[in-house]
C-alpha cells in the first residue's frame, strides 16, 4: 500500500533555512511585498459557468486566492425544514487540503459560512422562489495566505504548522458567490461586492494578503450592493480611530464600485450573443 491512511505518521513541512530577523513590512516607498501600492487591489479575474453540474457557478482568482462557487436550485428544501412562504438561502464555505502552505484536512469554515449567508441574503429576491432553497457552496482552492514569498519575508514561523485563513479570501468568496447567483438566473436586487482592508502603522492597505493581515492593527471588511450603494455586511476588528475608519470605509466602497465593474463585464461577456 502506498498510502497507509490508517497509520499516517506525523509529518511536517520543511521550513526555509534562512532565519531572517523581522523585516519592516514596507520600505519607505509605499510599495507592498507583492509590488502593489497601498490603494491597489490584487488583479481580479472572474469567469462564470465553471461547473456544468451546477445551476450556476463562478470562478474567481485574486492573486493567489482561487475560489469556485456553485449554485444549486431553487430546489426542494430539505425534509426537516419548516414550511416557508419565501425562499431559503443555504450556504457553505470549505477549504481544500492544499489551500494553505501546510497540508491540512479539508474543512468547512463555519464562521465564513455564516458571514457569506448574511452578506448575500439581503441581495436576493427570496420571494421569487417560495418554499424552495437556493444552495450556494464555495470551495477555496488556494488561500491568499498560501503565497510563499510574503510569509518568508514576514518571518512567520511556518514550522509551527501555522495556518490562518485570510479575511481577503472571504471577500473573494462573497463577490464570486454573487456572480454565481447571477449566472444561475436567481433574481437579485444588485450584485454583491466585497473588499477588505488593513490598517498597519497608520497606513491603510487595501485587499491585504496573509502577511499583511497578520501584522495589522485594525481590519475592516465591507460588503455592499454597489449600484444601490447599500452595505449588507460590515466587519471591523482591532484598533481604529474614527477618521481612519471613515477613510477606510470610503476606500473600501470605492474599491467595491471598481470591483463591480469587473464583475459586470464578466457577466456581459458571458451573455449569449454578446460576442457579435
Amino acid at each position: 500500500m502506498a498510502g497507509k491512511a490508517t497509520s499516517t505518521p506525523t509529518t511536517y513541512s520543511p521550513s526555509p533555512t534562512s532565519h531572517k530577523t523581522k523585516v519592516p513590512i514596507f520600505s519607505d516607498d509605499r510599495v507592498r511585498p507583492d509590488g502593489r501600492g497601498f490603494n491597489q487591489c490584487r488583479p481580479a479575474f472572474f469567469r462564470t459557468g465553471a461547473v456544468n453540474a451546477a445551476s450556476g457557478s463562478a470562478y474567481a482568482e485574486f492573486g493567489n486566492t482561487k475560489v469556485i462557487v456553485s449554485v444549486f436550485g431553487p430546489r426542494e428544501s430539505k425534509k426537516a425544514m419548516k414550511y416557508s412562504d419565501i425562499g431559503r438561502l443555504n450556504c457553505n464555505v470549505s477549504f481544500s487540503t492544499f489551500a494553505n502552505l501546510v497540508h491540512r484536512e479539508g474543512s468547512d469554515h463555519k464562521e465564513y459560512t455564516t458571514i457569506l449567508h448574511k452578506a448575500l441574503e439581503g441581495a436576493i429576491m427570496l420571494e421569487t422562489f417560495p418554499k424552495t432553497t437556493v444552495d450556494v457552496f464555495a470551495l477555496v482552492l488556494e488561500s491568499g495566505g498560501s503565497a510563499k514569498l510574503p510569509i518568508i519575508c514576514f518571518s512567520i514561523s511556518i514550522s509551527d504548522n501555522f495556518v490562518m485563513h485570510v479575511v481577503g479570501d472571504l471577500s473573494v468568496v462573497i463577490s464570486c458567490a454573487s456572480l454565481a447567483l447571477a449566472d444561475a438566473g436567481i433574481m437579485m436586487y444588485d450584485l454583491v461586492a466585497s473588499v477588505s482592508l488593513s490598517c498597519l502603522n497608520k497606513n491603510l492597505v487595501i485587499d491585504p494578503i496573509l502577511g499583511e493581515e497578520n501584522c495589522e492593527d485594525g481590519g475592516l471588511m465591507i460588503t455592499c450592493l454597489p449600484s444601490r450603494y447599500e452595505v449588507t455586511q460590515l466587519t471591523v476588528t482591532g484598533e481604529w480611530s474614527t477618521p481612519m475608519l471613515n477613510e477606510g470605509m470610503q476606500l473600501c466602497l470605492d474599491a467595491c464600485a471598481e470591483l463591480a465593474k469587473i464583475m459586470r463585464s464578466c457577466l456581459v461577456d458571458a451573455a449569449p450573443g454578446s460576442e457579435e
Binding site: A2, S15, P16, T17, A53, F98, L139, A147
Partner: protein, 302 residues
C-alpha cells in the same frame, strides 16, 4: 413509435428534455439504435480530454484535468516524516479523493457522496499496485527522514467517469511533481535550501537539486458501460445513472493489465464484451499518453 399509446402521445406533446427526463432509458435506446449518443459521440468514443500542469501554485506538483465536463484538480504537497521500521528507505504517498459540494447536485455539506471513498480506495490501490512510483525515490535519510507525498484529488465538476479523470489527474500531478532541494540541520530536521544561499550551506544537503520522479509503467484507465449489446466508452453522469453495468479497466503504457473492475449492475459481462472493453482501453491509453506527453513538453518549453 408505431402503435398509438399513451406515452407515444406524450412524447409528441413534450419538449425533448422533458421526455428525456421521464423516459431516460427509452430516450437512450432510441439513440443507441442509431449508434449515436445524445452528445453526438459515437458509442466507443471518449470525450475531449485536456491536462493543464501546475494549476496550484502553492503545491509541489499539480494538474487540472478535464474529460468532457468532468473536472479534477490534483495537487501534491511534500512533507517530511520518519520512515517506518519495516521500510526505513521508503517514503509514502497518501492519496485522498474529495467530492466537495460544489461538484454535483447530489453532494451536500455534511452528506458526502457515496462514491468518493470508493474512488479514493481505487486510486490508492491503482497507484500502489502499478508501481508507477518507486517509494525508495522518496527516501531522504535512511531510517530518519523520508518524504510523505500528500496527493489530494478534488472533483470540481462531476459528469461521469470520475475514476478515469481522477487517475489521470493524479498521474499528471506526479509527472509535474518537483521534489524540493532540502538539507538536514543540526537538530535533525529537514529544511529547505533556497537557491541563492546554496553555497554558504553549512548543513549537508540530502537532496541537492530540485528533481522529478521517474515514473515507470504509468497506469491509465477507461470506464465503459455495458447495456444490452452496446458498449459505451467514457460515460457521462446521466449515462451512468440510467445504465448500471460498468467496467473500468486500467492498463499501463505498455498495455499490461493492471486492474479490471466491474461494479455490479444487472448486465453480466461476457468474455467478448470484456475483450472489446480492453481493446477500447488500449486505444485510449495511447491517446492519454500522448496528451500527457504534450502537456509535459509544453511545461519544459516555458
Amino acid at each position: 413509435m408505431g402503435l398509438p399509446n399513451a406515452s407515444g402521445d406524450l412524447s409528441t406533446e413534450m419538449e425533448v428534455d422533458a421526455f428525456r427526463r421521464l423516459f431516460p432509458l427509452r430516450f437512450y435506446e432510441r439513440h443507441l439504435a442509431e449508434s449515436i449518443r445524445p452528445d453526438a459521440r459515437p458509442l466507443e468514443r471518449a470525450r475531449d480530454t485536456t491536462i493543464a500542469l501546475g494549476a496550484v501554485a502553492s503545491a509541489n506538483g499539480s494538474a487540472l484535468v478535464k474529460i468532457g465536463s468532468t473536472t479534477m484538480l490534483a495537487a501534491i504537497k511534500m512533507e517530511v516524516m520518519t520512515p517506518s521500521l519495516e521500510s526505513p528507505d521508503e517514503g509514502c504517498i497518501a492519496i485522498d479523493f474529495h467530492m466537495p459540494p460544489i461538484c454535483s447536485p447530489i453532494v451536500r455539506p455534511g452528506r458526502p457522496a457515496e462514491v468518493a471513498p470508493v474512488v479514493s480506495k481505487q486510486l490508492s490501490d491503482t497507484i500502489s499496485s502499478s508501481g508507477v512510483v518507486d517509494l525508495k525515490e522518496l527516501s531522504l535519510v535512511s531510517g530518519k527522514a523520508a518524504w510523505m507525498a500528500y496527493l489530494d484529488v478534488y472533483c470540481l465538476d462531476a459528469d461521469g467517469a470520475l475514476f478515469d479523470a481522477a487517475l489521470l489527474s493524479a498521474i499528471a500531478a506526479l509527472s509535474h511533481l518537483q521534489i524540493p532541494a532540502v538539507a538536514m540541520n543540526d537538530d535533525g530536521k529537514i529544511v529547505l535550501i533556497s537557491e541563492e544561499d546554496g553555497q554558504k550551506q553549512e548543513t549537508e544537503a540530502v537532496n541537492k537539486e530540485k528533481r522529478r520522479l521517474t515514473l515507470r509503467s504509468i497506469p491509465f484507465s477507461l470506464t465503459c458501460i455495458l447495456h444490452k449489446n452496446y458498449i459505451l466508452a467514457d460515460p457521462t453522469a446521466e449515462e451512468e445513472s440510467i445504465m448500471e453495468s460498468q467496467v473500468t479497466i486500467v492498463l499501463d503504457s505498455s498495455s499490461q493489465l493492471i486492474s479490471l473492475h466491474k461494479a455490479g449492475g444487472s448486465v453480466l459481462a461476457n468474455t467478448s464484451a470484456i475483450q472489446d472493453c480492453v481493446a477500447l482501453t488500449r486505444q485510449r491509453v495511447k491517446e492519454l499518453q500522448s496528451i500527457l506527453d504534450e502537456s509535459n513538453s509544453a511545461m519544459e518549453v516555458e
